[in-house]
Amino acid sequence: MVEPNVKDELFDTAIMDEEAVKGFSDPAQQERPRTWRLYWRRLLKRPAALVGTVIFCFFLFLAVFGPWIAPYDYEKQSAELRLATPTLSHPFGADQFGRDILSRIIVGTRNIFLLGGFGTAIAVVIGTAIGLFSGYVGGSIDEVVMRLLDVLLSFPSLLLALVLLSTVGPSNINIVFVVAILYIPMVARVVRSMVLDLKNKEFVEAARVRGETRSYVLFREILPNSLPPLLVEASMRFSYSIFLVASLGFLGLGVQPPSPDWGLQINQARAFFAIAPWVLLFPACTIAVLVIATNLMSDGLRQVMLPGGGRN
């Protein structure tokens, strides 16, 4: 029973040794790995994360250039192609109106990225502001803010999204705001925990000792050091937002027809699943691939930027 502890300690010594070796290197001959280059080097050593990043970038490319890449017009209906099986000319087949599924998926990518992306971005900005403020001020204000966020977190996210959207009505802007509202508490919590960790660090105290203003301390001393975990959290949130937007589409509260939307496509294909499963399978698989890829990427980011479980 001594062993597990001993092993831990030992691992630490080994890491320390390695760092000590690095630390004592002669500065004159030392190459100077900048932080981002170091991250890149570590990323290259993690194949799963690399694959995730590549797939993610591929989808990003589709989102930007989709309409020009898509082999067919996503709206063009054709009676003879109704529920056509996948062929070389229509690799993913066609749907109940004879529209090319591949083209609809490609063009639909942009929607997912825009809705999820903007939603996440707003959540990150507002969540960061709340987290920074609440964590730094502390005391009863912090307590109140965090409990309010807990209230938001205690609702199942899809349920909350449905309630909000059915109240204000489905539209692209509303979806963006719903995503943002759902993710603000999560981002705020991550940032707050970073602030709590950093605000008593010596370099922050040094800033207070020389009379820096509160906003300088927050935005110049604390925020830059919270960026790695924040970036990891943002990429996680983004991958979940893809899920959420697709789910909303499936439930009919997302992008309205005839715009191409993956969730909507799946919903409409349900009726034909027995005779034409590809109409449902391809959009579903696409969602799965993108979500998994984004997850792999954010997991990779975590390992690359926060090795050792967030030790900073």
């Binding site: 040794d17 100077r32 040094a206 207070r208 830059p224």
Partner: protein, 686 residues
């Protein structure tokens, strides 16, 4: 103790250990040999990164996943460990090989009571049943002088103090009567008075048990207390190996000589001398120089030293040295005189009676759920212009909180703190810029004191712009000047903190503190997390800058030898209160406060010839939530008088100069009691 002629218990021959890292394969330990006999302890000394832990752990094949033993032979009782199958090796670990680590808290499982954890070792490795194991645990805890072993077995690790825990870990390691005991910095995390008790214990256990001890430490003082033979490591190789006394009396390698010179010696002369410094830094193990690996930093280097690497050979009997010029290495005393210089005179008088910072009956109390923590409980201090006030005390003495109250990071609850006679506002937010500028601070942890995302230049320029009112160009020029004054090259201006070593970061922090041109700098343990050679060069730097800029220091440390080296006036604090204050020389000579006396006798001096009177404190520092009545030191005081100490606050006894002692025992009585008890005379040791 002379090495017995018997076969060594533990032998390492030509051991090589590699690590596979992001930098490629590193040869962390290269061709290293040593032997340890029964009842003997071998001390492995070296600075961090010298490979001492890697050597010990590699020898018992207990390396991290990226570590590998590539060559050599390791024999324990004649059994070759490197050829042993994993299963057999695992059976040896814990049974024949015991390990004691630096942090006792992480070596024990926090969710299992001590007794159960220790008993498990006995059941696992000795095949005992529950009752026998319990008896064995009791026996072992008694052997490590644990007060009330029965109660301890029922406690969880967090309920015990660091010293008690370390005793439990030692008991655990010795449970199976191992042939080899590896102790990796076992006292580094402990307070000096606790360290002294644990060292006494290890020295005693060494005689009692048959184990061979491999003792790893960076502290030359600790080595003298328990080791018989010492190996000095540098960048993965031995530089020198010798019997303890011989190594200290007549080192035959320049690195050992330099290491001995880096450590401040107790020296009650009115002159502040510099310490020996070793230029440069330990080379990375994949960038070793072609010749002698120490040659680039060596003061005795010749052309031939850089050509071929000298082997470690016996130069005088069992004295091994890896220096080809060992005959040119001078005796330590001679070298010390030549390599160091007098920097300034001790300044005990206030120049023109100008008091810079004064604290009057300052208290800092914290509200806790179960009462009030009296972290600082009535402290009076005075720092004069250009003077260094050393504050020494163990952890929990409130010395850091005093500094934080002065600078305004932790508001004081009562009392007054004045800067040049004017009362200071409670917190930094309420102080004007001119006041903020006057008081600066250097923090303990170099890794946290610089913002990781800001360059060195930015860090130094910010106070110049904010407090000095300089524009960008002026600030940059001044920052480069400051970098030069802390001996860092201008190329460091654009570097980020993670590209700097600990010592370099602390130099930047010192430059940043000086940037504001302060009247006083509060140094909160600025060197305690650094290697001895780096500590030495930083102390030199602090002294040099003080002379140049006429700055005052409040130097806080738990390390009495560092404090006495830098300070003009010393204040000894215990549990939030000053126990003794006076000129450095008067504090270090009798009469002492009994607490100062205990501290002095606990400091491990790097000189095996000095016999320190063993004055040991029982127990540990009480909680500041529950300060003892009367004299707060009475429960641990070896000279406690009885009821008067328990019930009445002691008076201040004033001696010559401004020497004041907070004790019930009159000064002449203290002087009489202490006259024969302490041998700290520098002459006698020479």
């Amino acid at each position: 103790m002379a090495a017995p002629a018997s076969r060594p218990v533990f032998e390492i021959e030509g051991l090589c250990v590699d690590y596979t890292t992001e930098l490629g394969v590193l040869h962390a330990v290269r061709d290293v040999s040593l032997a340890v006999h029964e009842h003997e302890s071998f001390g492995l000394v070296g600075e961090s990164g010298s490979g001492k832990s890697t050597l010990a752990m590699g020898a018992i094949r207990y390396l991290a996943q990226n570590g590998r033993v590539t060559d050599g032979s390791v024999r324990l009782n004649g059994v070759e460990l490197l050829d042993l199958p994993d299963r057999a090796l695992r059976a040896l670990w814990g049974a024949k090989i015991g390990v004691v680590y630096q942090s006792p808290l992480s070596a024990l499982n926090p969710s299992i009571v001590i007794g159960k954890q220790l008993a498990e070792v006995a059941r696992q490795h000795l095949g005992m049943d529950a009752a026998a194991a319990r008896d064995r645990v009791h026996e072992m805890l008694t052997k490590v002088a644990m007060p009330d072993p029965e109660a301890v077995t029922k406690r969880y690790p967090h309920q015990l103090s660091g010293g008690m825990l370390q005793r439990c870990v030692i008991a655990m390691a010795l449970m199976t009567d191992p042939s080899l005991l590896i102790m990796d910095e076992p006292t580094t995390a402990l307070d000096v008075t606790t360290q002294a008790v644990v060292l006494d214990l290890v020295a005693e256990l060494k005689r009692e048990f048959d184990s061979a001890i491999l003792y790893i430490t960076h502290d030359l003082g600790v080595i003298t207390k328990i080791c018989d033979r010492v190996g000095v490591m540098y960048a993965g190789e031995f530089m020198e190996q010798a019997e303890l006394k011989e190594l200290f009396k007549r080192p035959l390698h320049p690195y050992t000589l330099d290491l001995l010179g880096c450590v401040p010696h107790f020296d009650p002369t009115p002159q502040k001398r510099s310490l020996v410094t070793i230029p440069g830094s330990i080379p990375r193990v994949d960038q070793l120089p072609p010749g002698c690996i120490f040659a680039p930093r060596c003061g005795f280097v010749e052309e031939a030293c850089t050509q071929a690497r000298p082997p470690l050979v016996a130069v005088q009997g069992a004295h091994l040295s890896a220096c080809r010029r060992w005959q040119a290495v001078p005796p330590p005393a001679e070298y010390l005189r030549a390599a160091t210089e007098a920097v300034r005179e001790v300044q005990t008088e206030c120049v023109a009676r100008e008091v810079l910072v004064a604290a009057d009956d300052t208290q800092v109390h914290f509200k806790a759920p179960k009462g009030t923590v009296r972290a600082v409980d009535g402290v009076d201090l005075e720092v004069c212009v250009g003077q260094t006030l050393g504050v020494v005390g163990e952890s929990g003495s409130g010395k850091t909180t005093v500094a934080r109250a002065i600078i305004g990071l932790t508001p004081r609850t009562s009392g007054d703190i004045r800067l040049r006679g004017d009362s200071l506002a409670l917190s930094t937010a309420k102080r004007p810029r001119s006041t903020l500028r006057e008081i600066q601070m250097v923090f303990q942890n170099p890794d946290a004191s610089l913002n990781p995302t800001r360059s060195v230049g930015d860090a130094i320029m910010r106070p110049l712009a904010l407090l000095g009112g300089l524009d960008r160009r002026q600030a940059k020029d001044k920052a480069l000047e400051l970098l030069a004054s802390v001996s860092l090259p201008a190329s460091y201006f654009d570097r980020l903190p993670h590209e700097l070593s600990g010592g370099e970061k602390q130099r930047v922090a010192i430059a940043r503190a000086f940037a504001a041109e302060p009247g006083i700098i509060l140094c909160d343990e600025p060197i305690s997390s650094l290697d001895v050679s780096v500590q030495g060069s930083l102390m030199n730097l602090l002294m040099k800058l003080q002379v140049e800029k006429q700055t005052s220091y409040l130097f806080i440390s738990h390390d009495l030898s560092a404090v006495q080296h830098l300070s003009d006036v010393i204040a000894v604090v215990y549990l939030g209160h000053v126990m003794e204050v006076g000129d450095a020389t008067t504090v270090l000579t009798p009469p002492f406060h009994p607490y100062t006396e205990a501290l002095l006798s606990a400091v491990p001096l790097a000189d095996p010839d000095v016999k320190q009177k063993p004055i040991r404190l029982s127990g540990s520092v009480p909680s500041a939530m529950n300060v003892p009545s009367g004299c707060r030191f009475h429960p641990r005081c070896p000279r406690c008088l009885g009821d008067v100490c328990r019930e009445q606050e002691p008076p201040w006894r004033v001696g010559e100069g401004d020497h004041r002692i907070y004790c019930h025992i009159p000064l002449d009585e203290l002087a009489r009691l202490q006259a024969e008890t302490l041998v700290l005379d520098a002459e006698e040791s020479a």
